[in-house]
Symmetry: C2
Subunit: 410 residues, 2 copies
């Protein structure tokens, strides 16, 4: 069978060990092909039920519910730690946004540590903005490198306090060398903070094995926790007592309800909590993460690689002749779970693909269309059909038929 | 009719103009009297339905839902601004926790402004902790005053950068003079940040009329938005462009999706946003706040005063002889929507009241039981019954029958 045929794709679905997971998500849209799980994941059926139950629990238990809810940030964090992140219980909390958590960790390591801040100019905007703000507040230099390969050079003078990078680049999908960069940065005497937003749930992340000490990440992408669900924050146990969040909040306080005392943070990971955690959202994180844990990140990664390889192969065969070029690394070992396709008309093509072909992708400036595969619910046939619809659309110049005013895309 | 009789209480319920609102909440617990809405409000029926609909919307619309969701922090903020806070549209956002929002505003005003920080030693712990952290980070003095009356003295030397106080004190329920203190602090050349957590939705707050420029507050108490629902942040329009959040996040960025540029914050209130806002929770804030707006804060306040007056009168008549004393101001004009009753055995009494008498109150150290009235669902008869059960319990010494290990209370 032609490995680039639709029949072959369908046959792979038929024998896919993860095939059964699709039914665990709400997919009431048979025509639509959703390749934007790297932006917002689908709704797990269990989440719908759990949220309804938890809303009722609020109504019934009222304030007494807090006796259990109060542990949710650590409890859900433990599930992520052991099932997804390759960390230990007590090393991860879930609460606040990725931006706020990234701010907490970066500010914590800058305290009492002089030197520059380093990131790459293609890093996700909110990370760059936070670093820019911290550099301004602390009177530090922010050094922007062209790509991850330049990080060692940037640290060579040993005048760097902090390097912060994304594990998977949001635009190109490039996958960074987590242990290699971490070890080089630490060897240069700097702290390393990783943003795992675009890898968590799709790429195996052995935080402890890689020597990573500090990381944050998002739960509403491959972990399917819903729009604006809270983020996670990881601090290796041996670093916890020595670092302090800049936001001294009551959920980080030792003996929180002995309210008369001055601030004295918990010795463990709770010290990075700030205000009251969002209980409904934490349940959604738990249900979303549970599916990933059940499937296993290794199995997810295997399917993800096969699917992005299929996109690359179909691109080479059918899209490159139409003016597309690959915006992601060709080596799957260097790529996360989405593929960027570059085209001079990327923006109207993206609009047309969504509006006229019912393939949900997204655009990232200046010229990239991202196709993300989420192996828990993306089928091989979806990948084939999406690229085929894209090919047909561009072959017919349909991107010139849409009203493609630059607008909001998330 | 004896004004302290149960008949009188029941008669007031029968003619209560807000009486119909109780049916808008889930109250499947006929025996239970819930006087802890000042900690966590009840579940509105509309919220249950709205959350179910919004979860479905996530499942159906997926990433395209962001075209509307993205405005929720401002949209829900506008409802609070105009319907609850006495502010203007574009002056309030809803996102992040009270702690994080309080941190943002306090850090923003300290930037480039030397001087001490002032708060009262009875202020809510998370506020004190945040101020303590900022004082440490900026090398400033944190001056703790005994009560609000001492604030002017603390500012007398004109060496104060920031005063931060709670509008209603979490323990005593004391209601601060919002316009008077704001104007005195401003006259002393300092910035004033208010925490409205324990007043919003229960006490009329004319922010603009009072000359307040900076405030934060909680939505899960009298606004009934659910456990850990996001908080609000208010900045008077004329102050917005001149203040900058310490957390430079992508939701505060002008033209957020032009992702290539350096940080350049929105001129308006959005600049105080940080990361991706929690969409489910924002819907819960909207539904909760809608009930308060519909009822009107003035009508809520009128009933709240009548109910706390009833608690005080019943205390004087039936509880004071049992060793209770009033921990809240006697003048209702100086009191929020909860009453603190002090007793040497407050902790076991509180446990017994919950466990043996099904009256939900809470304990605040060292010796206070808080009884909070939430006029949208608290009945006069509830107030009467609660005090009667409390009286009977203490008269029989039942507090000595509970296992009252000091534990968690929220």
């Amino acid at each position: 069978m032609d490995p680039l045929s639709r029949e072959h794709a369908a046959a792979r679905d038929a024998s896919d060990p993860l095939g059964g997971f699709r039914a665990r998500f709400v997919t009431d849209d048979p025509q639509r092909i959703y390749l934007d799980g790297n932006s917002l994941g689908r709704l797990p059926v269990a989440t719908r039920d759990r949220l309804a139950a938890l809303v009722s629990e609020w109504g019934e238990r009222l304030v007494s519910g807090w006796s259990e809810w109060i542990d949710a940030p650590v409890h859900v964090g433990d599930m992520l730690a052991t099932g997804v992140l390759g960390a230990q219980p007590g090393e991860v909390i879930v609460s606040d946004s990725t931006t706020v958590n990234f701010y907490k960790l970066c500010a914590a390591v800058l305290e009492g540590r002089p030197g520059a801040l380093v990131t790459d100019e293609g890093n996700f905007p909110t990370d760059r903005y936070v670093l820019q703000g911290l550099a301004a507040a602390h009177g530090r230099e922010l050094r922007l490198v062209g790509d991850h390969g330049d990080v060692q050079d940037a640290c060579a003078r040993r005048d760097v306090a902090l390097v912060a990078l994304s594990h998977v680049a949001y635009r190109s999908g490039a996958l960074a060398d987590l242990p290699g960069i971490t070890s080089a940065v630490r060897a240069a005497g700097a702290e390393m903070v990783w943003d795992l937003s675009h890898s968590v749930g799709a790429v195996p992340i052995g935080l402890r094995a890689a020597g990573v000490e500090l990381a944050v990440g998002c739960t509403y992408k491959y972990l399917n926790a819903g729009p604006g669900a809270p983020a996670f924050l990881y601090v290796a146990r041996e670093r916890q007592a020595g670092l302090r969040s800049p936001i001294w909040g009551w959920f980080g306080q030792r003996e929180q309800f002995a309210m008369e005392r001055p601030y004295d943070p918990e010795p463990g990971i709770r010290r990075f909590l700030a205000g009251t955690p969002p209980i409904l959202d934490l349940a959604a994180v738990e249900e979303g993460a549970r599916l990933t844990v059940e499937a296993g990140v290794e199995a997810i990664r295997e399917k993800s690689v096969a699917q992005t390889e299929l996109i690359v192969a179909l691109h080479d065969a059918t899209l490159a002749p139409l003016g597309f070029s690959l915006g992601s690394p060709r080596d799957p070992a260097l790529r996360g779970s989405h593929v960027s396709l570059r085209h001079p008309e990327a923006w109207p093509i993206c609009r047309a693909l969504i509006e006229r072909a019912d393939v949900v992708c997204d655009f990232r400036g200046p010229d990239s269309i991202r196709l993300g595969v989420a192996p828990l619910y993306t089928r091989y046939a979806d990948v084939w059909d999406a690229v085929d619809r894209l090919r047909e659309l561009v072959a017919h110049g349909e991107q010139r038929l849409v009203d493609a005013e630059p607008g909001r895309v998330t």
